[in-house]
Amino acid sequence: MNRRIAVAALIIAICGLNGCANKSPAAPMASVVPAASIAKTDAAPAFAPPSEKKIPDGPLGDVIRRGRDIFIDTPARAKAYVGNGLSCSNCHLDAGRLAKSAPLWGAYGMYPQYRKKTGEVNTFGERLQGCFLYSMNGKAPALDSAELVALETYAWWMSQGAPVGVKLAGAGYPKLADPALKIDYSRGQTVYEKNCALCHGSDGQGQQVAGRNVFPPLWGPQSFNWGAGMHQVGNAAGFIKANMPLSRGGTLNDRDAWDVAMFMDAHERPQDPRFTGNVADTRHKFHDTPDSLYGVSINGHLLGEPTAQKSAYR
């Protein structure tokens, strides 16, 4: 049994770190769209969310503001559902308003949507539940909970005037071109130490003041879990390239962004809540892509393996 896992891990490791990593995570998605429709489609339309000053007074405005406040200070304002110290705005900058940082206005009009991750059509509320379960390593608030209603209302308000079902410019994180060279862990470490450790710490655990994150942990027990979108190297590379270091977005080259994203995502983090009891099986079911390092052995550490997780946290 152990040997089987080891062999599987080895195959995955070779696949993950060598040739397969060159496949773009975006490739399968893009290939679904017929070439002709791409040619006909104009460039994605631009959209700018309304100023926060335009949030109306009254009960509707109160709920919009509550959603905004939960978004920027999630551990304090949605405490029961957050298992780590992260806030929504750690990955969705400027309170979910910023283009290329998975803005709320870029997502709201794209739901309901069929998601490969769940194998079903999900509403926007269900998508938000996923954020709590994976990125916040917490519990999903009920769809009619005050927290989820407030977040959804904030996203709706921000998206007023945006077309429904149209991919907008700046939605999601940018998809970088395939890495021209093999993604390199140790090169990523060098990039990390030079550009990221100042804020996130050389141990990746961020920096806290009065028990609160100022700079979020990038891995370890207080970070997002193995089911979160940011654990996928392509997502992380796109976010990092566009937005990191904070205020200096766009200054890393693509190679640096790929390598440092891989370095970050090659560290241990909380278990995928869908864990089947077996890492290879969980990888096969949920992470069967070179974009995920779950179940891959890095420097002799099998990522996601429960006993290895414990020792990595110590």
């Binding site: 304090a76 910023l98 003041v209 009065a210 904070l246 205020s247």
Partner: protein, 219 residues
């Protein structure tokens, strides 16, 4: 047995010697703060206050309770001109490396003075820039790096809360003009380039009115 006793004895001597040295260093710093070092460095308290609280009217910053590594770096940077100030460049250069270190440690251990002023809300222009930023210009909220209400984070992000407005304004302008360029990753040089005169005034006034003591507010 004799050798064990001798080793223990030597150890004791070493510990006592170390304690004496630490004591000497602390009193060195204390004496420089109050009297200068007699080699060109004037007493620190003349400008930074008896308790390191700073002087708001002259724009001299608070040093009390700041991170020791940050303070040491600033003193070193005055000696290599990556940070400029006629008074501090000559003062820092008149100090030895050991004295600079002792002073950094000394001030880091002083209690943060409490503030009796009522801080302004986040709603004014300065508060908005400080807490939320101007993302259209790639400017995050200042508190995203300088901590809740600008109370400072670690060795690289000094407190802004309760610092004199004149001081904060002068530093932002020094980064704009390149006369201060000792910031890691050139973060402040780039940020400040996008700030208007009014932005600088507003944000400096907002931070000057904040309480210097961390209270776990929204980062």
């Amino acid at each position: 047995m004799i050798s064990t006793a001798r080793v223990i004895g030597m150890g004791m001597v070493a510990i006592v010697a170390l304690l004496v040295m630490v004591q000497a260093r602390a009193s060195d710093a204390d004496s420089i703060v109050h009297q200068g070092n007699g080699k060109g460095a004037p007493p620190c308290l003349a400008c930074h206050g008896a308790n390191g609280e700073g002087q708001a009217a002259s724009g001299n910053p608070r040093l009390a309770g700041l991170d020791a590594a940050y303070l040491r770096k600033q003193l070193e940077d005055f000696t290599n001109s990556s940070r400029t100030s006629p008074v501090m460049q000559s003062t820092a250069s008149a100090l030895t490396a050991d004295e600079r270190n002792a002073l950094a440690v000394y001030y880091s251990k002083l209690p943060i003075p409490s503030s009796s002023t009522v801080p302004p809300t986040d709603q004014d222009a300065g508060g908005e820039l400080a807490t939320r930023g101007h993302w259209s210009q790639q400017i995050p909220g200042c508190v995203q790096c300088h901590g809740p209400a600008g109370t400072g984070v670690g060795a690289n992000f000094p407190p802004l809360a309760g610092q004199p407005a004149i001081y904060i304004e002068a530093q932002l302008k020094a980064w704009q003009h390149g006369t201060r360029h000792n910031d890691p990753l050139q973060l402040m040089q780039h940020l400040s380039a996008s700030l208007s005169e009014q932005d600088i005034h507003d944000v400096a006034s907002w931070f000057a009115a904040q309480s210097a003591v961390a209270k776990g507010a929204t980062p």
